[in-house]
């Protein structure tokens, strides 16, 4: 099976966000990047698929500018068959439809067509979950949304997700797009140091796609307005009984809102 994993990276939440520009590529350059939990889950799912079938080939494509090269190497440290960076300047990432078309074009440009495309349920800092369905539509492939786990049953790959009241398992006949959400079963493993060091020396391709004409023009990105508290935080004190009574009294008005 040939698996392509699409990765984007997000601003590292351990650092304060720097917003000196309203252009997404520059915002990414100004902030340290890490894989999001959804990126990590997608990558781990690909590794799990390979664990089950050694003939699985994994390609990782990291969307971004040169600031994302470290993420490319971080993915490569999992001893992937190929890694590449997709130059994101042309993607218009605030426009989910345009971005989906750009990603689809990049996937079509690969030397061999993937059987399965894995993508985190949110793709980078500018997607709120619409990209995976749009990508499936742009490719004309079926979508398995919010996958949490994967396993082989014979020659068939089964993707698993929790439904409203039951676990759903779907057998896949390629090609598919699957969005992946985080789950304790797909926590990204640590790469081996030997592969980390080899990844530092490894070269990779930079893919480009024709600029996509977005349906909207990005005018500005500005810091979100800070929310103000109606009253300051405070600790409940006194005996446990007193704290319970005080908390119940505090919550009483909320009951009326139900």
């Amino acid at each position: 099976m040939k698996v392509a994993v699409l990765l984007a990276g997000v601003a590292d939440p351990r650092h304060p966000l720097t917003l000196r520009s309203s252009r997404p590529p520059e915002i990414r350059r100004d902030n340290p990047l890490v894989f999001s939990p959804f990126d990590e889950a997608a990558l781990e799912l690909a590794l799990k698929i390979r664990d089950g079938r050694r003939d699985t080939a994994i390609t990782a494509i990291v969307a971004g500018g040169a600031e994302s090269d470290a993420l490319v190497r971080k993915a490569a440290a999992h001893r992937l068959d190929s890694v590449a960076r997709l130059e994101s300047e042309a993607l218009a990432i605030w426009d989910v439809g345009a971005t989906a078309h750009g990603l689809a074009e990049a996937l079509r440009g690969l030397a061999t067509r993937p059987d399965l495309v894995l993508i985190g349920r949110e793709f980078g800092d500018f997607d709120d979950g619409a990209l995976a369905p749009c990508l499936a539509a742009a490719l004309g492939w079926p979508l398995f949304d919010l996958a949490q786990f994967a396993r082989w049953e014979g020659d068939e790959l089964i993707l698993v997700r929790d439904g409203r009241s039951a676990e759903e398992r779907l057998g896949l006949r390629p090609p598919w797009v699957a969005s992946v959400t985080n789950d304790r079963r797909n926590r990204l493993r640590h790469p081996l140091m030997k592969n980390v060091m080899e990844a530092r020396r490894r070269g990779f391709d930079v893919l480009t796609v024709a600029p996509v004409v977005p349906s909207a023009t990005l005018k500005a990105v500005a810091p979100a307005r800070e929310r103000t508290r109606r009253e300051p935080c405070r600790f409940l004190t006194g005996s446990v009984e007193n704290q319970v009574a005080e908390l119940a009294a505090y919550l009483q008005p909320w009951r009326a809102l139900r």
């Binding site: 926590r187 493993r189 640590h190 790469p191 081996l192 140091m193 030997k194 592969n195 980390v196 060091m197």
Partner: protein, 474 residues
């Protein structure tokens, strides 16, 4: 060298020059111990801390303090003594350490233990054997709590003040060549001077946070990981050098073995080798006697391919861990996914990308050594140092812990005498200048006993305060 008289001072601003009895540079365990002891002796004391918070590298440490002959050891049926501690410290330091400095540690350790307890230090009820210990003597505390509680005690005396975000910049001698009597301080956007009539203590830590300085002495550690307090940049060392202070043990800067090379959330080393694991390199081959000091293990690891190796263990060894001791808390690391786990050695090797036949052969050979009681390859006789019987690696599941060396501290530094007075390059005390904690050289020598760095901070801090109180620093 800077004269007090040359210090910038606005005569109209009284806060540009302050006067105290005792000035402490650095608020890690050495600094707060010294401040508390000085306050108890009646000295008006000022503590300068470069960072916004107290604690330094001490607060980030594993929380082990090496004491011998304690009530906790007795309660656990452990026989230990000053003599055994002294012999161990000298031996693990390969007799490269300074006998007088080691003796100062040993003579004051038990009273310091009692002093810490009297000031509310809460030690765990168990003690563990670790690097360089013939008897289990790693007494466990929460190091950040220890620093905070000692500081609270010091503050409650009313005799100690603290200025944070204040960096000591220069030491000043009286009249240019007399005793060290003041420090120029950068803080609050300006430079001011603090005079101290009874002594100035450098408790400013090591220089693991200064890659340039580390490279000067230990270029082989350029690729190592560094985990230390943000202020560990060698400020105290350089200020003392400017007055002609001598230094030692820089040839023995070492990383500690057992740090996961990739994980960024868990800074502490994991020492499964001290519970019976073996260390193998990427080729599946042992390369060292695993019972030696984890500093020497760090050196050995750095010489292996990729500067990264694996601790190989089985279920029995994993279950012998101790979740109260950070370096032996295997279960938490297992839950965090840091161990590679498999039902067979072959499957373990596959995950670690080690040649499976080589790993199986290495483990079988080692188990045969254990059965026979003789390690023909590296002469390992014990789990750690002279303690503990070796155990086979035979019960599934099997585990591999990826491990490299991490430089937590530099463990070398200024030459001092037994009263913690800093010595110049001719062996003469520099009047007015004391040192304690990681900035001091001479205790560890070539290698390191677990718990001796943190304990030395408290022990030497107390000695330095006593020296100042008795007027010995001038």
């Amino acid at each position: 060298m800077t004269s007090i008289r040359s210090a910038s001072r606005d005569p109209d601003d009284a806060t540009d020059e302050r006067e105290v009895d005792f000035l402490v540079v650095g608020a890690g365990l050495a600094g707060v111990s010294a401040a508390l002891a000085a306050a108890e002796a009646g000295l008006r004391t000022l503590v300068l801390e470069k960072q916004p918070e107290i604690g330094g590298s001490s607060a980030m440490s594993g929380g082990c303090l090496a004491f011998a002959g304690t009530d906790i050891q007795r309660a656990n049926g452990i026989e230990d003594s000053d003599a055994l501690l002294f012999a161990d410290l000298r031996e693990v330091g390969r007799f490269e350490n300074d006998e007088a400095t080691v003796r100062a540690y040993v003579e004051e350790q038990l009273s310091t233990y009692a002093w810490l307890r009297a000031h509310g230090a809460e030690f765990g009820s168990m003690v563990e054997a670790a690097s360089g210990q013939s008897a289990p003597r790693s007494h466990i505390v929460d190091p950040a709590d220890l620093v905070r509680s000692l500081w609270a005690r010091a503050k409650s005396t009313g005799a100690v003040r603290l200025i944070t975000s204040a960096r000591a910049a220069r030491l000043c001698r009286e009249g240019g060549g007399g005793p060290v009597a003041a420090v120029e301080v950068d803080g609050d956007g300006r430079r001011f001077t603090v005079r101290a009539s009874r002594g100035i203590l450098l408790a400013s830590g090591g220089f693991a946070g200064n890659p340039g300085l580390v490279h000067r002495f230990a270029p082989q550690y350029d690729e190592a990981q560094f985990v230390c307090g943000a202020g560990s940049e060698g400020d105290g060392l350089r200020m003392a050098w400017s007055l002609g202070a001598d230094f030692r043990d820089t040839a023995y800067i070492k990383g500690t073995y057992g740090k996961h090379p990739i994980d960024e959330t868990n800074h502490h080393a994991c020492l499964a080798v001290y519970k019976g694991a073996i260390a193998v390199n990427q080729n599946g081959v042992r390369y060292v006697d695993e019972s030696i000091s984890y500093k020497l293990l760090g050196d050995a690891c750095m010489a292996q391919p990729f500067a990264s190796t694996y601790q190989i263990l089985d279920r029995d060894i994993l279950e012998s861990g101790d979740d109260r001791v950070r370096i032996l808390d295997f279960q938490r690391r297992l839950e965090e996914g840091l161990f590679i786990e498999a039902d067979t050695l072959e499957a373990l090797a596959e995950q670690a990308e080690i040649p499976a036949d080589a790993l199986a052969q290495t483990v079988a050979r080692y188990n045969a050594f254990v059965a026979r009681g003789a390690d023909d390859d590296f002469g390992r006789k014990h789990l750690v140092h002279n303690h503990g019987a070796l155990r086979k690696i035979e019960r599934a599941p099997f585990y591999a812990y990826p491990s490299t060396a991490v430089v937590f501290g530099t463990y070398c530094g200024l030459c001092v005498d037994r009263s913690m007075q800093v010595l110049d390059v001719f062996g003469a005390p520099i009047p007015g200048l004391l040192a304690a904690g990681e900035v001091v050289g001479g205790l560890h020598g070539a290698a390191y006993m677990t718990g001796s760095a943190l304990a030395k901070a408290a022990i030497f801090g107390r000695i330095a305060a006593r020296t100042a109180a008795e007027g010995g620093a001038r």
